[in-house]
Amino acid sequence: MTAALFLEQLLNGLQLGMTLFLMSAGLTLVFGVMGLINLAHGSLYMIGAFCCATITNMTGSFLLGLLAGFVGAAIAGLIIEVVVIRKLYDRDHLDQVLATFALILIISEGTSWIFGSSPLYLSIPSWLSGSIPLSFGEDSNSSYPIYRLVIIAIGLIIAYSLYLLITKTRLGMRIRAGESDREMIAALGVNIRVIYSLIFALGAALAGLAGSLVSTLYSVEVGMGEPVLILALVVIVIGGIGSVKGALVASILVGLVDTLGRVFLPNILALFIDNSQVATLSASLASVLVYILMAVILAIRPQGLFPANA
């Protein structure tokens, strides 16, 4: 186990964490401000990936594809908000879960109707496909792909922009006001419905961006959104539902625990127990590590790490 391998896995964990943050930022804002639990957020991620793959393949430009993923998911989010989600703000959680579950069924089946069931593939554009060396003297031939570093950078930029948006702008002020008292802000003459639509579209756009960014790493297919959605749900629960800061911290935590656990848990377990069952046991254990983390954190702090409305 060299330092370079450890650093490589650390960066992989960070990259997964940033992807999760892009997903969970919207999810947690929508819950914090509108009190809505949106299971169809993973579908917006999928829509983003499909838009990106289609446009990139059509135009040959990955940047245009990224833009298409961002904008496409925002538009889809806006339509969904106006047609369905808007009716759910005053409903109980059961109705929200079921209606958004229905949206998953509709969007997934609709997509596989349009695109067929075979996955789409994108390759990393040539100007991003290089890698930089991760040398520490011991083995100088290990390197890390630039593209994954770009994802980490984009995640950090988005996190900082969200921080600025929420704390420094008039829109952010209204969002925070809507979070603490939606009737009062409506009484002050702010059109709260427009703000709700904007937040939902913003969350959708970020999910779409996340889907577009990973479309070159994984295959683009129906059902790609749900595993990420569930991890994002774990993230916002750990972080404290409604808190963007909590989402950032928890995303990185979950990304690191999941990635490092899968790589190093077998080695660690093998130190204690030495038999053939260890390999299967550690693989099983590594895949549930983040859920164990969540259960432990919730058992200690039932409102998550950074409760938004505490």
Binding site: L98, F101, G110, L298, Q303
Partner: protein, 331 residues
């Protein structure tokens, strides 16, 4: 007013009997017409209904929106599948227990294991409420799901074939009608059990806990143990349904543990009517009808399921039961 309330209550009871009667007659007639496929479909409805009746106890009456009941459904299925596998290979379980293919013994295992697991999950999950409860039950189910996927001894991702159905005493469970009758008896028992529970002192407390935790506490009953007990009973019933489902299909796979399955069990309840005795039975019937008839027409039948579900949630809250017999009674 009182009179019409009684009439509605009577109407609902009559409807419950009519639905059960129709299911029974459909199975008999299709068997008599030698349509084994359709008898199995009716068994499928009945098994989904059992799972729904189980979840309804927690979700409909107790207000605990569990998005993790597939864990119990799947574990029930896996216990049936693993028993059948060991029995056909004449090997014993991990702990050196003799393997069996007797459903009654297997169900006993299902009851014990699902109860213990639900106790553990409930102990932690019920410390939270609302969205946190939904997500933590989902997370626990995902744990079980990923565990099953990465455990190669029992099929891993591919699932486990059951070479021959588990046996019920001396009866031939491969006969469609015999298998249906077993499922139907279990359904009757669970419907009876939950109607007794709902009418009991415990059930009343459970329903108050759904509406107002504090009010229940002020009359001297702690909501937490009440909810936990209901959660465990609910899990056990869903687990039995899972064991039957595995035997029906002669196959068990991680799909039974997936969160889509959890969602589908909620759908059975919602389509029929949340917190209504026959709700899950009607809902499961509608679900299987959609699956069979639209599914025979296009592979994208879930698109239509989604649309129906969306319309029911947005515009027809209360499901089929409300359309047929009206508002739920608060007795």
């Amino acid at each position: 007013m009182l009179n019409s309330t009684h009439q509605k209550g009577f109407k609902e009871k009559a409807l419950n009997l009519i639905i059960l009667g129709l299911i029974f007659v459909t199975a008999l007639v299709t068997y008599w017409l030698d349509q084994g496929y359709y008898v199995n479909l009716v068994s499928r409805v009945v098994i989904f209904a059992i799972a729904g009746v189980g979840l309804n106890l927690a979700l409909g009456y107790g207000g605990m929106v569990s998005l993790g009941h597939a864990a119990f459904f799947g574990i029930g299925g896996y216990i049936a599948g693993i028993s059948a596998m060991h029995f056909s290979e004449s090997t014993s379980f991990i702990a050196g227990l003799d393997s069996t293919n007797q459903m009654l013994t297997i169900w006993l295992f299902v009851i014990i294991i699902c109860a213990l697991l639900a106790l553990f999950i409930g102990l932690i999950s019920l410390r939270t409420s609302g969205v946190y409860f939904i997500m933590i039950t989902l997370a626990f189910a995902q744990m079980v799901y990923y565990f099953a996927i990465s455990w190669p001894d029992y099929g891993g991702e591919d699932g486990l074939l059951i070479s021959s159905r588990n046996q019920f005493l001396g009866n031939d469970t491969d006969n469609e009608l015999v298998f249906f009758l077993i499922c139907f008896t279990v359904l009757l028992l669970t419907v009876f059990l939950s109607s007794r529970i709902i009418r009991s002192r415990f059930g009343t407390a459970l329903q108050v806990a759904r509406m107002n935790d504090v009010r229940l506490a002020t009359v001297g009953i702690r909501p937490y143990p009440i909810k936990l007990t209901a959660f465990v009973i609910s899990a056990v019933i869903t687990g039995i349904a899972g064991a039957l489902f595995a035997d029906l299909n002669r196959f068990v796979s991680p799909d039974m543990l997936s969160w889509q399955m959890s969602g589908e069990i909620i759908i059975f309840i919602l389509l029929g009517g949340v917190g209504r005795l026959s709700g899950p039975i009607l809902g499961a019937t509608l679900f299987v009808l959609l699956e069979t008839f639209i599914g025979g027409y296009t592979e994208h039948w879930k698109l239509f399921l989604g649309l129906v579900l969306l319309i029911v949630v947005l515009y027809a809250n209360g499901g089929l039961m409300k359309m047929v017999v009206g508002e739920k009674q608060h007795d």
